[in-house]
C-alpha cells in the first residue's frame, strides 16, 4: 500500500524544497497535497486522508500546532520550524518528530526512517498521540499569556492605538477611565476594574481605588511620616497618591 503525505508551509520555495528532497529520499511516497496555510492544511487532511503530514509550526490562519491538535487522531505528524527555541526544546522531550529548516538531507533521511517504522506498526497514530500534542501546546503557550497590550482610543476621526507600555497611569473618571501617557490624556469606556483584570499584574499596580500605575514609569515613591505614600512619575509632573491598602506593594522599594 502506498503511503500518502501532505506538506504545509506558507513559503512556497520551502515547500518546493521539501518536496524535492522527499522525492529523492523517499520516492515511493505520494505527495497528495500542498497547503499554504493552516486552513488549507486542515481541509487537505480532511479530504485526502493522508497518513503523514509535514507541518510548519508558524503558519497564517491556523498555526501548525493547532492543526496537529485537531488531526492528531487520524495522521502522523512531522513538524518543520526555522528556529524556535521553545518548540525545539519541547519536541526533544516528546515523541513527535521535527525538522529544522533549512532541512538537511541526512536529517530528513532519519525522519523518513522513523516514519516508515511507525507506519509499519500502525497506519493510524496511537490513541495517546493527541495527548502528546496537547501537552506540547500547553508548554509552548505558557510563554505568552494574553494580557491587554493595545488600547484603542478615538482620535481625530480615527482610532489611535496606544501601547500599554507607553501609559503612565490610568485614572478612573465615573464609569470611564482616563489613559494618561507622557504627552496626553484620552478617555476610554472601559472601567478601571475591567482594566485591572486585563492588564499584566506584574507590570501594572493598583495604587488607589481609582488609579492603576505602570510600574516601569515610576520615578520615586515617597512615604510620609503619617504613612501615606505618593508616587512621582518619570514623564508627568503630578504626584499620585497611594492609598493605605496598596502601600505594602512598595515596602521593598
Amino acid at each position: 500500500m502506498q503511503i500518502k503525505a501532505i506538506l504545509a508551509d506558507d513559503e512556497e520555495h520551502l515547500i518546493d524544497y521539501l518536496e524535492s528532497l522527499l522525492g529523492e529520499v523517499w520516492p515511493q511516497l505520494a505527495i497528495c497535497g500542498r497547503a499554504k496555510n493552516g486552513h488549507e492544511a486542515l481541509e487537505l487532511i480532511e479530504g485526502r486522508r493522508p497518513h503523514l503530514a509535514f507541518l510548519d509550526v508558524r503558519m497564517p490562519g491556523v498555526c501548525g500546532m493547532e492543526v496537529a491538535r485537531r488531526v492528531a487522531k487520524s495522521c502522523w505528524i512531522v513538524f518543520t520550524t526555522a528556529y524556535d527555541h521553545y518548540a525545539v526544546n519541547a519536541f526533544e522531550s516528546g515523541a513527535l518528530d521535527y525538522l529544522i529548516k533549512p532541512v538537511s538531507r541526512e536529517r530528513l533521511e532519519k525522519a523518513v526512517e522513523r516514519a516508515k517504522k511507525q507506519l509499519a506498526v500502525s497506519l493510524n497514530p496511537p490513541w495517546y498521540f493527541s495527548e502528546i500534542v496537547e501537552r506540547l501546546m500547553g508548554k509552548m503557550e505558557q510563554k505568552h499569556q494574553d494580557f491587554l497590550q493595545w488600547i484603542r482610543v478615538q482620535h481625530g476621526g480615527g482610532v489611535k492605538l496606544i501601547s500599554v507600555e507607553e501609559v503612565c497611569y490610568f485614572r478612573a473618571e465615573d464609569k470611564y477611565t482616563v489613559v494618561v501617557t507622557g504627552g496626553e490624556e484620552s478617555l476610554i469606556s472601559k472601567s478601571i476594574r475591567e482594566l485591572s483584570e486585563e492588564l499584566d499584574p506584574s507590570k501594572f499596580w493598583r495604587i488607589h481605588r481609582g488609579a492603576i500605575v505602570n510600574v516601569s514609569q515610576i520615578d520615586k515613591v515617597n512615604r510620609s511620616v503619617t504613612g501615606r505614600g505618593s508616587i512621582r512619575l518619570k514623564e508627568r509632573r503630578e504626584l499620585l497618591v497611594v492609598s493605605r491598602p496598596y502601600l505594602h506593594l512598595f515596602k521593598q522599594m
Binding site: 520551502l14 524544497y17 508558524r58 484603542r152 489611535k160 501601547s163 507600555e165
Partner: protein
C-alpha cells in the same frame, strides 16, 4: 520646602548661640549679677532682628527662600518675642523701659545682630547652593552614564531583533532552494540579504543615517520578504528625491516594517500591502508605514524590542537636533498605520551644509 525650613532654623540657631555667648560675655565683663536679664534682653533683640532681617534679606537678595515659610517663621518669631516679653515681666524687669533707658546699648547689640544674621545667612545659603550644585552635577553624570548604558543595551537587542533567527534561517533556506531551481533569483535574493546585513551592521554602529539610505535598506528587506511570501506581499516605498539627503536617527524604519510584516501580514492568510511614505511639511518630516494586515490587537504580543528602541530614540534629543514621536493608528479598512514625526532643523542636520 523642607530644605528651606532647615536653612532658616539653622540661621536662627546660629543667632541664638551668638546672643547667648554675647550675654555670657556681657555678664562676665559688665554686670555680674544680671545673667538672666542679659540673656533675655539679648535673645529678644536677636529675635527681633532676626525676624526683620531675614525677610528683608529675602526681599533684597535671597529670592530662593520661598515667601510662605518666611512669613510663617516671622509670625512664629513674633509670638516667641511676645512670650519673652511676658517672661521678662515675670522676672520683675520691664524690658521696654530698660530699652528706653539703654537704647544706645540696645542699638549696638541690634547692629551686631544684623551683621551676624546676614553673614550667617550668606554663609549657610551659599554652602547649601554649592552642595546642591554638586549633587546636581553628580546626578546629571549618573543620568548620562545610565543613558549611555541603556542606549548600548538597546542597540544590542535591536541588532539581535534585526537578524532574528527565524528571519535568518527562513531566508537562507529560500536562497538554498532558489540556487538549485532559479539561480538568478537566488543570487538576487542573496545580494539583497547581504546588503541588508551590511546596512544593519553599519547602522548599529552609527547614530544617524539619511532617509535615502534607510529607504534603500527597507527596499532590500522587503524584497527578501517579497521573494519569500510571493503574492501575499505587495509593497511600495515612496520617498521624494528632495528628502533623501535628510539626516534621521539610524534604524528607525526597520522595526516598524518588521512589525507590520510579523504582526500584520504574516498571520493573515491572504497577505496584504505595505507602503512606506515620507513627506515634509514645514519643519516636520513625517514617515508613514502602513499595512493592511490583521491589526495589532488581533495578532497577540505587544511592542517588540524594536519599537521600544524607536520610541527611546525619538524621545531623547539626538546629536543632530531631531526630536520626534511615534504614533499608531488603525488603518482603513484594516491594518495599522505607524507614523514617525520628526521636527527637523534643516540647518543643523543637513549633512551637506555641515
Amino acid at each position: 520646602m523642607e530644605r528651606k525650613r532647615k536653612t532658616i532654623f539653622r540661621i536662627l540657631l546660629c543667632n541664638v548661640v551668638f546672643n547667648t555667648v554675647l550675654a555670657l560675655l556681657l555678664t562676665a565683663a559688665v554686670n555680674k549679677s544680671a545673667l538672666y536679664a542679659n540673656l533675655i534682653l539679648l535673645q529678644c533683640i536677636g529675635i527681633i532682628v532676626f525676624s526683620v532681617t531675614l525677610p528683608a534679606l529675602h526681599l533684597i537678595k535671597f529670592k530662593r527662600l520661598e515667601r510662605q515659610p518666611v512669613i510663617v517663621m516671622t509670625a512664629v518669631l513674633a509670638s516667641i518675642w511676645l512670650i519673652a516679653l511676658f517672661a521678662s515681666r515675670l522676672y520683675g524687669k520691664d524690658i521696654l523701659s530698660f530699652l528706653r533707658k539703654e537704647y544706645a546699648f540696645a542699638v549696638q547689640i541690634a547692629i551686631f545682630n544684623v551683621i551676624f544674621v546676614s553673614v550667617a545667612a550668606y554663609v549657610i545659603i551659599s554652602r547649601n547652593k554649592i552642595s546642591t550644585a554638586t549633587t546636581l552635577t553628580e546626578q546629571e553624570r549618573n543620568k548620562r552614564l545610565d543613558g549611555d548604558r541603556k542606549v548600548a543595551e538597546m542597540s544590542l537587542r535591536l541588532l539581535q531583533a534585526q537578524i532574528e533567527p527565524h528571519f535568518l534561517f527562513n531566508t537562507l533556506s529560500n536562497i538554498l532552494r532558489l540556487l538549485d531551481t532559479d539561480p538568478d533569483n537566488g543570487r538576487a535574493m542573496l545580494v539583497d540579504f547581504m546588503g541588508y546585513l551590511r546596512m544593519t551592521l553599519a547602522g548599529s554602529r552609527s547614530l544617524s543615517t539619511t532617509l535615502g539610505q534607510e529607504a534603500e535598506m527597507m527596499g532590500a528587506y522587503l524584497n527578501i520578504f517579497k521573494m519569500r511570501m510571493g503574492e501575499r506581499l505587495r509593497y511600495s516605498i515612496e520617498i521624494p528625491d528632495n528628502l533623501k539627503d535628510i539626516a534621521i536617527p539610524s534604524m528607525l524604519l526597520q522595526p516598524l516594517v518588521e512589525n507590520a510584516i510579523s504582526h500584520g501580514l504574516q498571520p493573515k492568510v491572504t497577505g496584504g500591502e505595505i507602503s512606506v511614505r515620507a513627506q515634509k511639511t514645514g519643519e516636520i518630516l513625517r514617515i508613514d508605514v502602513c499595512d493592511t494586515g490583521v491589526g495589532f490587537g488581533n495578532s497577540g504580543g505587544g511592542l517588540g524590542t524594536g519599537i521600544g528602541y524607536v520610541r527611546e530614540k525619538l524621545n531623547s534629543k539626538s546629536p543632530d537636533g531631531n526630536r520626534g514621536r511615534l504614533t499608531f493608528m488603525e488603518n482603513e479598512p484594516c491594518g495599522v498605520r505607524a507614523t514617525i514625526e520628526l521636527s527637523h532643523d534643516a540647518d543643523k542636520s543637513d549633512p551637506r551644509r555641515r
